[in-house]
């Protein structure tokens, strides 16, 4: 392999997707070749940065990786189909040890497949369960079926294929650290039609506001939730972190935009309690609240400005 070929393998090495033999070969080469080693170090740095960044991508759909792999597989198939027929090992004119190995493997696979298919045919009438029964046993008793459609019904074999939707009651227990628990709580936070559920989710998440993801979720609730009660509960949970830069920014946004005076009052009280004598903050607060229609807020800001100076 040339250096160019080796450098193409570096990404796969970092994703741990190389076979053992190629990995060893590549690692040996990297030790001997300064240029490739430099390329490897550079790729590795980028890889670690991406890995750190990826840890914050919580909203990526879970099926994205599956989709990507599928697209990759399709593309590889397409490339594979373009290969000339004579490059298939059986027809290859180049008779190398690797080609020989590939041919043997292909023959072995073919034999194995043949044996498997013939066995299946022989035993299928005895061991195959009633497909309908098998599927019914997989449906929970308390599940509710809707939108049921008969996809296929073969009168000769009696085979019926059904499709529909099933919903069932959910009860899940776990710790706040569990991914499923968090996902469910974050899902509750996004339930646009149910402010009560959102409020309860905020109340539960407020128990662990030190967690970065939870803090972000609470900030989102404070800034974007349409229900004043939810926003108020979020600000109550965040108030002791009003000294942190991003929480402070969220509070400033609240002061400038929230229509509920009570929430603005909470924001101003928290900001003042956690950031006394911060001249820059005082100036920003003065600008943000200059036109606030609530005299208490204006007065508190002026008081803060006076104290900070």
């Amino acid at each position: 392999m040339s250096c160019k070929d080796y450098q193409h393998q570096i990404t796969l090495l970092l994703y741990d997707e190389l076979s053992e033999s190629i990995r060893v070969e590549l690692e040996t080469h990297l030790q001997d070749c300064p240029n490739c080693h430099e390329a490897y170090e550079s790729e590795k740095t980028m890889h670690s940065v991406l890995a750190e960044d990826a840890a914050r991508w919580h909203d990526i759909p879970s099926d994205l990786l599956v989709e990507s792999r599928r697209a990759l597989a399709d593309e590889l198939d397409r490339i594979e189909r373009k290969r000339s027929w004579w490059r298939v090992p059986a027809f290859s004119v180049v008779f190398t040890p690797m080609r020989l190995l590939e041919s043997v493997a292909l023959i072995a696979m073919g034999l194995a497949l043949g044996v498997y298919v013939s066995n299946q045919r022989q035993v299928s009438p005895q061991i195959a369960p009633n497909p309908t029964q098998e599927q019914i046993s997989g449906i929970p008793r308390n599940g509710t079926i809707s939108n049921l459609q008969i996809v296929n019904a073969d009168p000769i074999t009696g085979q019926v294929e059904l499709a529909g939707e099933i919903s069932q009651p959910l009860r899940f227990q776990g710790k706040m650290e569990d991914d499923t628990v968090r996902s469910l709580l974050f899902s509750a936070l996004r339930d646009a039609n149910n402010p009560g559920s959102r409020l309860k989710a905020v109340e539960v998440l407020a128990q662990k506001p030190t967690d970065e993801m939870i803090e972000e979720a609470l900030i989102n609730a404070l800034v974007y939730d349409g229900d004043a009660g939810v926003r108020m509960r979020a600000i109550e949970a965040l108030q002791k972190f009003a000294g942190e830069q991003h929480v402070r920014a969220a509070f400033m946004h609240t002061l400038g935009n929230d229509t509920d005076a009570g929430i603005r009052v909470k924001a101003i009280d928290a900001l003042m309690a956690r950031n006394s004598r911060d001249v820059e903050l005082a100036k920003s607060l003065e600008a943000v609240t200059k036109k606030d229609d609530n005299p208490y807020i204006r007065s508190k800001v002026l008081e803060f400005v006076g104290t900070a100076k």
């Binding site: 149910n194 004043a228 009052v265």
Partner: protein, 374 residues
């Protein structure tokens, strides 16, 4: 030397103009009203004064207070230039407790002790705390929390966002907050409570409670009308009719003495019917979107029960009853009384208890219905 003394004296004089508190005193008689209009600063009213007089001091000389010592005592402050105010201004007032209070803090908190008379406490955004108020109370803030002890008469408590906490109320009560909780003790009269979050009332007469998000919990009430956009509604005992609706949450009545109309979008409904008058109006209409409906009825009740599960679960029993029920075939309610068989589990059943009478309608779109003997 003289120059040094002069500089020191001058500095002290200058300093004193900013820091020397303003003292004053006005006589006040029993039942009179103390009126305070504070354009700036917090109001702290100590009601343990032993003299028949109001003492007050303001710890900032920028503020000029005008006192009117008539039958009622009125203290009014000017509004100083906000840019010159450094720190919090506090009005410290000492008064005997057998007076009425009418306090307005334009931009500050209000804190009062126990009062024998009526109290009107208003601020544009601060917090209000009060001790026991023997008379009527009107406590209003545009933003902060309100915390008060018992109120002897009627109470009107409002905040645009803050939480309201109040003890017992001797008369009727009105509570309003857009984003806070409401917590109240025993209320002798009727209550109207509109909250942004949970509402808790230990005991009351007629209750009308509405919240945007959060639970409604009423310990004991003569009558309840409750509505929440998301949260549970519970009551340990309701002595009269109950009407309740939640978009999402459970409804649970541990003891309902009269008719019940309850609905939930998602959640369970549990009602224990415990009538004080078995011949009274005891109809029930319980509707759950997604959730179970469970009702406990006394065996002596005359009732016509109609139970429907719109979308039954796959293999679970849909309607469970301690009383004999007649299953009705779907689409054939008139002639379709059919016995249960292995292919058919009823999703619509009827029953007549003691010859029929009070209409009990139980419905769930997705869930099960349970009818138990009390």
């Amino acid at each position: 030397m003289i120059r040094v003394i002069g500089v020191i004296s001058g500095s002290l004089l200058l300093l004193s103009t900013f820091t020397i508190p303003l003292f004053s005193k006005c006589p006040i008689s029993d039942g009179a009203t103390l009126i305070v209009r504070a354009p700036v600063g917090d109001l702290q009213v100590d009601t343990n004064g032993r003299e028949a007089a109001v003492d007050f001091q303001v710890d900032n000389s920028l503020l000029q207070v005008q006192e009117n010592c008539g039958k009622d005592v009125e203290l009014t402050g000017n509004a100083p230039d906000p840019a010159q105010i450094h720190g919090t201004i506090v009005w410290r007032i000492v008064t005997p407790k057998n007076v009425n209070l009418d306090l307005v803090a334009t931009a500050g908190n209000i804190d009062i002790g126990n009062v024998d008379g009526d109290s009107i406490l208003r601020t544009t955004g601060g917090h209000i705390t009060a001790g026991q108020i023997k008379g009527k109370a009107a406590i209003i803030t545009q933003g902060g929390l309100v915390k008060a002890g018992n109120v002897g008469g009627d109470a009107e408590i409002r905040s645009q966002g803050g939480t309201l906490e109040i003890g017992d109320v001797g008369g009727n009560a009105e509570f309003h907050t857009t984003a806070g909780q409401i917590r109240a003790g025993s209320i002798s009269g009727a209550v109207t409570a509109e909250g942004g979050r949970a509402i808790f009332i230990i005991k009351a007469g007629d209750v009308k409670a509405t919240t945007n998000a959060g639970d409604i919990s009423i310990g004991d009430a003569a009558r309840i009308n409750a509505k929440t956009a998301g949260g549970s509604i519970t009551s340990r005992r309701v002595r009269g009719p109950f009407q309740g609706h939640t978009e999402s949450g459970d409804i649970r009545l541990d003891s309902a003495a009269a008719w019940v109309e309850a609905s939930t979008g998602q959640g369970n409904i549990v009602v224990h019917l415990a009538p004080e008058n078995i011949d009274g109006d005891l109809h029930m209409d319980l509707q759950a979107g997604i959730g179970d409906v469970t009702v406990y009825v006394p065996p002596r009740l005359k009732a016509t029960i109609d139970a429907t599960v719109q979308r039954p679960a796959f293999q679970a029993q849909q309607i469970i009853s301690d009383f004999p029920m007649n299953g009705i075939a779907p689409g054939r309610p008139v002639q379709g009384l059919i016995p249960n068989n292995r292919f058919y589990s009823p999703t619509h059943s009827q029953s007549l208890l003691n010859g029929g009478g009070n209409k009990i309608t139980l419905h769930t779109s997705l869930g099960k219905i349970t009818i138990r003997r009390q």
